[in-house]
């Protein structure tokens, strides 16, 4: 690497375009919502920055707190499901034959390249009361019922008298399912890459020292894959917090998350200051999560360097 002093002209010509772009079209807009979040509406489209804290105070109203709480647990639940499902999937890909690895990875990643809106829309057809999933569950119910009748347990009514379709649309469950659906491939990727780099001799050493499969899995494999799992957690959880489309289309207005309320401040209620404050709230949460991650990394590398 060269010092910027050696070739100042080259340094500036490579540096100025991107720095200028980021300052103008990224930092400045963020600065504007920062100003707006301390502002008041003076007319329909005019906002004056009066440094009021009202907009932040409004976040602590019960309905907004409920909204934040709902956003948090939906995002968290979806993230946890993604990781619990993603770990075995990543493990299968990472330990597959070398020729198969790339194909299996492609198989999982391909849906991810499809438009988010289209993917969410495709779930609409599946999750409806008369959609594919209920059709399938109904078919399962009938088969199970037939089986119970066959073994003479039909009268016990173990499965209820008739199949009741599940309601996914407009329920938190449907929204969680939707978020899992759109984020699963993205969660798998970092877990896969941490497992892929792992040396199997650690696992073999564990077994050699007398640990069983499950013990090796939880005591060796999971701790070693932890950095990847943490990354997976962050890159699933942060976008999930800001999810707009899934609650909008699958929640049918009954399972709002923060983003839906933010959107309404801009495209309906015209309360830009409050919308700005809510957006920044989301941004602050993101920063706190990233900072925690950075601290965890720093602590780990400190521990490791001390161990050496």
């Amino acid at each position: 690497m060269d010092s910027y002093k050696q070739k100042p002209l080259a340094f500036l010509s490579f540096g100025i375009p991107s720095i200028a772009w980021l300052l103008l079209f990224f930092m400045l807009p963020l600065a504007i919502i920062f100003m707006y979040s301390f502002g008041e509406n003076v007319s329909v489209v005019e906002v004056k920055t009066t440094w009021t804290l009202d907009n932040y105070a409004r976040i602590f109203q019960p309905e907004i707190m409920t909204l934040l709480w709902r956003t948090l647990w939906i995002a968290l639940l979806a993230t946890v499901i993604c990781i619990v499902v993603g770990l075995p999937v990543a493990l299968v890909i990472a330990t597959a034959a070398p020729w198969a690895k790339a194909w299996l990875l492609l198989l999982i990643m391909l849906p991810f390249w499809t438009n988010l809106l289209i993917r969410t829309y495709s779930l609409l057809n599946i999750l409806g009361t008369r959609g594919r999933l209920n059709e399938f569950l109904g078919w399962l119910w009938h088969k199970a019922n037939d089986f119970l009748v066959f073994i003479g347990a039909g009268d016990l009514g173990l499965l209820g008298t008739k199949f009741v379709a599940f309601k996914f649309l407009g329920t938190p469950g449907g929204v969680v399912l939707g978020i899992v659906y759109v984020s699963l491939p993205f969660a798998i990727l970092p877990i896969y890459s941490s497992l892929e780099r792992m040396d199997t001799s650690y696992l073999e050493a564990s077994m050699d020292l007398g640990a069983g499969q499950l013990q090796t899995f939880f005591r060796i494999l999971v701790p070693l894959a932890l950095p990847g799992i943490l990354t997976a957690f962050l890159i699933t959880f942060i976008p999930a917090l800001g999810q707009f489309l899934t609650p909008e289309l699958l929640g049918r207005g009954q399972v709002d998350m923060v983003a839906n309320v933010i959107q309404r401040q801009f495209k309906g209620a015209n309360d830009w200051p409050f919308g700005s404050a809510l957006s920044l709230m989301l941004l602050y949460i993101t920063f706190i999560l990233l900072a925690l991650r950075a601290f965890a990394d720093a602590a780990r590398s400190r521990r490791e360097s001390r161990a050496l």
Binding site: M1, D2, F11, F14, G15, S18, W21, L22, F25, M27, L28, P29, I32, I33, P88, V89, L91, V92, I93, A94, T95, A96, A100, L106, I108, L110, P111, W113, T114, N115, L116, L117, I118, R119, Y121, S122, L124, N125, G128, Y181, L184, T200, L203, E204, M207, Q213, P239, L241, L245, L249, A259, I262, F266, S276, S279, L280, L282, L283, T286, L290
Partner: protein, 286 residues
Amino acid sequence: MAMDKVKRHRNKRKPFEYSRKWSLRSVFLMATVFLYVPIVVLILFSFNNSRRGGNVIWKGFTTKYYDKAFHNEDLMLAFGNTLTIAVIATIVSVILGTFTAILLWRFRFPLKPLFEGLVSLPIVIPEICMGVSLALFFTKMGWLGNTSDVWPFNLVNIIIAHITFCFPFAAMVIRTRLQSFNREMEEAALDLGATEFQVFKDILLPHLKPGLVAGALLSFTLSLDDFIVTFFTSGPNTVTFPVKIYSMVRFSVTPEINAASTVLILLTLVLTFFALRVQRNSDVVE
């Protein structure tokens, strides 16, 4: 002489070949089915001969909804807008991304970690924050897309917004590629008499090519894929394909949407195919 009996063993699974464990395989299979069924159903029902929204029941095969989608002027205009935005955003993103990547790879400078953080910020912050901030920025600057503006200047808001979130990704991909560059190559070319510019053109750029293509494809897909940021930064008259579909979905669910979506999925498939080709070719050269 009696032959010793050779004991044969079945080829047993080794302890850590998780890919050969049936329990894990079935999780993999279920995840795959979960990921693909909705998309496959969506494609299938684009051929469903049913007018009703929600398209629950199969009423026979037809391609008339493709016809309808292709003759929907608003939809086609939106599609054209989307492609225009994606192409321009991709070109600018790759250029900006290359500059950023070279800057970070080549130079030591004060506040470098801060700059690195700034570049990766658009990747990590929630999309809605970016959408909202850019929307307010454009309003405040008075840069609102007008239909009276000459194409593609009516789309300039959306293009700027897309470049802002695309180029950090492009920079990341290109920087990764740069890291595999052997600087002795650069010195060898200088040693053989090339000038700094010739080194850039003859040696560095060819090495970067797969990274540039990968960065371009990534930017293009991100731009095609984006809904949120576009949704906030577009004016009422500058509609993109995802935004148009969104408004159609809110209105009613018709096979026409399925047909239009299928076209976009196909486009993505083609792009992915190209990306893989490029990657494989560059792997062979290494």
